[in-house]
């Protein structure tokens, strides 16, 4: 194989892996949007908050330590124990379910039947609140998250793809980060589970029913409140998975919440209402921006990854506003 094709393939593979992470965030958006019509701007911050909480619990950090120290002049920081990763993930999930309940109870229950734009504004408020709250609770320093996922390049793949170079000395096999590979598997499992859940369980069916028509859902005996708490919990779970992946990759830092913005073009591509759409959209954006950077980037000074996704989304908005998989907007007259 010619060298450029090999490099191109590697770029595509790495793009796919990056796309999976975008897709994970986008997935959380889709879930909430489908079930409640709310565009949840706070999804990225939820991922951040989940990662912060996970690290905090694992390291035995005392929540609100800075606040307590400032008020009482104490010097508390750590409980002095370490919680195993698996248990910490479970505890974090409990926190995310509680968060879902609180969000429903204190915010959205009071905004039933409001305009979408008002609900959207509420989620922006939620995003800022959660960011500040996470800061207050766990501190703003960059933390490393190590839940025992393997990191670094996979030598196995490098060794076993070397032959593709056919004796080319400059080609040492494809370089793929093991963490990315695992993220891909986890995302795939997550999607399968979510699709099975929404298609084949009673709760999933109720969730789709609520998404479709509130009044009709009430009339068959579905509690809207319960379903919304459930959906926010599931979105919290997806946020936790995304938070773990991003956190393990680049540390738990507050810029994590900005990845939520990358999920926007992903959604415009995939469609706001489609779970497979979120995945495919994420992959297209991931591959697209890496390939564009690789092929066109050098001629126009690079750094195309910052804007490529948005331009692609803009083009989609013009030609296919409902996205690849979104429901076509047909108004019967």
């Amino acid at each position: 194989m010619p060298e450029s094709l090999l490099y191109g393939t590697e770029v595509v593979l790495n793009g796919l892996m990056a796309g999976v992470l975008y897709a994970l965030v986008a997935l959380g958006f889709v879930l909430i949007y489908k079930a409640s019509g709310i565009f949840n701007y706070a999804q990225g911050v939820m991922a951040l908050f989940a990662a912060l909480t996970l690290v905090g619990i694992m390291e035995g950090q005392i929540p609100f330590a800075h606040l307590i120290n400032a008020m009482f002049g104490t010097e508390l920081h750590h409980f002095g124990w370490h919680v195993p990763a698996f248990l910490a993930i479970l505890l974090t999930m409990v926190v995310m379910v509680f968060l879902a309940w609180a969000v429903q109870k204190f915010v959205f229950r009071h905004l039933v039947n409001q305009e979408p734009i008002i609900l959207f504004m509420a989620t922006i408020g939620l995003a800022y609140f959660l960011e500040g709250f996470g800061d207050l609770m766990w501190g703003s320093d960059i933390k490393t998250l190590n839940v025992g996922l393997p990191q670094g390049g996979s030598f196995w793949i490098e060794e076993n793809t070397q032959w593709l170079g056919f004796g080319n000395e400059n080609f040492y096999g494809f370089f793929l980060d093991r963490l990315d590979i695992i993220a891909t598997f986890i995302a795939a499992i997550l999607v399968v589970v979510l699709v099975l859940f929404s298609q084949y369980t009673k709760q999933g069916r109720a969730m789709r029913a609520v998404a479709d028509d509130h009044q009709a859902a009430l009339s068959v005996g579905i509690s809207l409140n319960f379903i919304w708490v459930m959906v926010w919990s599931v979105a919290g779970f997806v946020a936790l998975v995304a938070g773990i992946m991003w956190g393990a990759k680049s540390g738990v830092q507050f810029s994590l919440s900005l990845i939520a913005l990358k999920a926007l073009p992903v959604l415009m591509l995939g469609g706001f209402t489609s779970i497979p759409g979120a995945i495919v959209g994420g992959l297209i954006i991931g591959v697209g921006e890496k390939l564009f950077e690789f092929s066109v980037g050098p001629y126009i000074g690079g750094a195309t990854e910052n804007w490529f996704a948005y331009v692609l989304a803009l083009i989609f908005l013009v030609f296919r506003p409902q996205g690849l998989f979104g429901e076509k907007i047909i108004e019967r007259v």
Binding site: Q215, A216, L218, V220, G221, I222, S223
Partner: protein
């Protein structure tokens, strides 16, 4: 005091009507200063087809919404199966076995006909999430039993051909039928129909009348329906409540109501001389 009738009786045309299943006592419903319903009492008996009729704006739909929990009346009591019903959310009323359809159809447009009808069975599904996830034992038996019942209803309402079609693509008449199927799938103690024949042509009306009668006959479903097409109602129902301007002006068998002077006046107008 609960003065619900516990006795069954047999009508002139040989239909057996059971004891009272629901009783409305002195219901008054206000929207701000407007009285939609004023001091109305009536009962619904097991196995009967009970109609609520009246001219436009008489408060029929409000009455149905009170029964199904969408409105909470300011005054009066609702008695259901021998117990006074506390104020309830619509979904709780539905869980108690009162199913309904809507005048302007509330279906899950994005879901298939089959899925729509299956949502009607949510009340009957008891197994937990985990059991459903591993799909064994109780959960499996439950799903199979529910599907069986749903298929029976789909057959009954003659919508087999469109089982997998998304509801959004169906024409109006069929949507009405799917909505009926969903309500029937809940095996309700009382089935509330809000203008089941609104906007239908003669043929569709005949179909719908046939379904309502057969439903009552085959499943023994108690039906309360609202309609302003007098002719249809008189043919279908066992007993009729007539409303006008939020008040009850008549209650009885179709022939009794037909000869009631107040009802005739309400429908035909009164000569002021």
């Amino acid at each position: 005091m609960n003065d619900m009738s516990q006795d069954s009786y047999v009508t002139e045309d040989g239909r057996t009507i059971g004891p009272t299943v629901m009783e409305m006592k002195n219901i008054t419903l206000r929207f701000g200063g407007v009285k939609a319903i004023t001091d109305i009492s009536f009962d619904i008996r097991e196995g009967e087809i009970r109609a609520i009729i009246g001219p436009n704006g008489a408060g029929k739909s409000s009455m149905l919404n009170v029964i199904s929990g969408f409105y909470v009346p300011q005054e009066g009591e609702v008695w259901y199966k021998g117990k006074k019903r506390p104020p309830m959310k619509p979904y709780e009323v539905a869980q108690q076995g009162i199913a309904r359809t809507f005048q302007n159809i509330a279906l899950f447009e994005g879901m298939s006909v089959l899925d729509n009808v299956m949502t009607g069975r949510l009340r009957q599904m008891q197994s937990g999430l985990f059991a459903q996830a591993i799909w064994k034992g109780k959960a499996e038996r439950e799903e199979v039993a529910n599907r069986e019942q749903v298929e029976k209803i789909i057959d009954f309402l003659e919508i087999q051909a469109i089982r997998k079609t998304p509801v959004g693509r169906l024409p109006y008449g069929l949507k009405k039928r799917v909505e009926l199927a969903r309500a029937l799938a809940a095996e309700p103690s009382i089935l509330l129909l809000d203008e089941p024949m609104a906007g239908m042509n003669v043929e569709e009306k005949e179909d719908m009348s046939r379904f309502i009668l057969d439903m009552n006959d085959e499943f023994g479903t108690t039906i309360a329906l609202i309609e302003h097409d007098m002719g249809v109602v008189m043919d279908l129902s066992d007993r009729v409540v007539v409303m006008d301007y939020g008040k009850k002006i008549g209650d009885g068998t179709p022939s009794e109501v037909r000869n009631n002077q107040a009802v005739i006046d309400a429908y035909l107008g009164v000569a002021h001389d």
